[in-house]
Amino acid sequence: MKESERRFANPCPGTYLLTVSLAQQGYRLSSFCRSLMRPENRAAFRADEVGYMRAQGLDEREIAMVSARDWLAMVRYGVNHFLVFRVAGTFGVGLTGAAAQMRGETPEEFKRTRRVWEER
């Protein structure tokens, strides 16, 4: 990836845009995320996470990101967050949970930064 594209993809601190080179790097991981839109695939993934990811063609680095539930690493690697949220959702992690993790906070710490909060 050219340095200019890298700079474009990170326009201000803590902010990541999806560009062509990043999306191409993240294509397989993105396809895996998309596959989890189907309940039968979610069940197969839950039953054997690593086996399912290998069958989807993910390499060890990609598998490690998912196994670590490292949503931010997936984004930086080139997966759009709406695709990442489909994996997080499979683990029962919602938007605010993903937010806290990407900010490096506990859910309680993140909640304290919010003006209003919806208890679910």
Partner: protein, 283 residues
């Protein structure tokens, strides 16, 4: 002749649609937003538009990396409800308007825009959230919908200026349609929010207020901004306010704000707006 009677602005966050499904419009958390929909529903019941041209975006539901259209028009006679992975929302399919969509596509292409034509375009929360908040769907949806989806997720995305001009092309298209139809344009998404990175949760209500002011009085100045300006002020996902610029571009230069509401929620600054069109030619 068809004519645009006004423009609406609405969030399209999935949590808003979920609140509709759970009948949570009056809970303390959601009331400040759903109270803002009441004047919009009343206005729509009074105006009774035949068609809504809905500017939104897909969220890797109907489109994937294989094909990312910059602009896409849904031309189907009926739009399916998409399953985003957790089951379809309990909504009936949304009626489309193939004749007007066909004319719209012809007209904007003649005008220098080249949208993708989609004969099957299941709608995700980007379209269903605002529709389900603004309309009742029993016994049937009271309006036909032409979804126009704009890529706001995979860069390069169209510039604010391009979106504003695309809206103007949509206005010319509607104005040259031979049947007598009342059309409302609906811009969705935003306002300030960021759903990614260490800056996840960024909201700027001061910027959102300025955006809504300028959208009425000086939309050209917003169209002249760069993506980066929106991202820095309102957060990376707020760049989708280019969908509101499509809507504003489809209105005449002079509009009147008849309703405006703002709710600073957990992750997003939600804006709601009715702009009445005061007439005049397209730009």
């Amino acid at each position: 002749m068809a004519r645009i009677v006004g423009g609406l602005g609405s969030p399209h966050a999935p949590s808003v649609g979920a609140a509709v499904d759970r009948h949570e419009q009056d809970t303390p958390y959601w009331k400040p937003l759903f109270d803002g929909y009441q004047p919009m529903r009343a206005w729509l019941e009074r105006e009774r538009p035949d068609v809504v041209v809905l500017f939104s975006n897909d969220h890797f539901t109907s489109f994937f990396l294989d094909v990312i259209p910059t602009f896409a028009i849904g031309v189907a006679a009926e739009h399916e409800i998409a399953d985003e992975g957790w089951g379809k929302r309990p909504l009936p399919p949304v009626p489309g308007h193939t004749d007007l969509a066909s004319h719209l596509a012809q007209s904007v292409v003649a005008d220098g825009f080249d949208p993708a034509i989609c004969h099957r375009l299941p709608l995700d929360h980007g379209c269903l959230t605002p529709l389900s908040a603004l309309f009742s769907w029993t016994p049937a949806w009271p309006v036909r919908v032409i979804p126009i989806l704009v890529n706001v997720l995979h860069f390069p995305i169209p510039t604010p200026a391009r979106c504003f001009k695309f809206g103007a092309a949509v206005r010319r298209a509607v104005s040259s349609y031979e049947d007598d139809l009342k059309v409302v344009v609906l811009g969705t998404g935003g306002l300030s929010h960021q759903l990614v990175g260490e800056r996840f949760g960024h909201i700027d209500p001061v910027w959102d207020a300025e955006f809504l002011d300028r959208l009425q009085d000086d939309p050209q100045s917003l169209a002249a901004l760069e993506h980066r300006d929106f991202i820095e002020r309102g957060g990376s996902e707020s760049v989708e306010v280019i969908l509101w610029l499509c809507m504003r571009g489809a209105l005449s230069p002079k509009v009147r704000t008849v309703h405006r509401n703002y709710y600073h929620a957990t992750l997003t600054g939600y804006g709601q707006l009715i702009l009445e069109d005061l007439g005049g030619a397209a730009r």
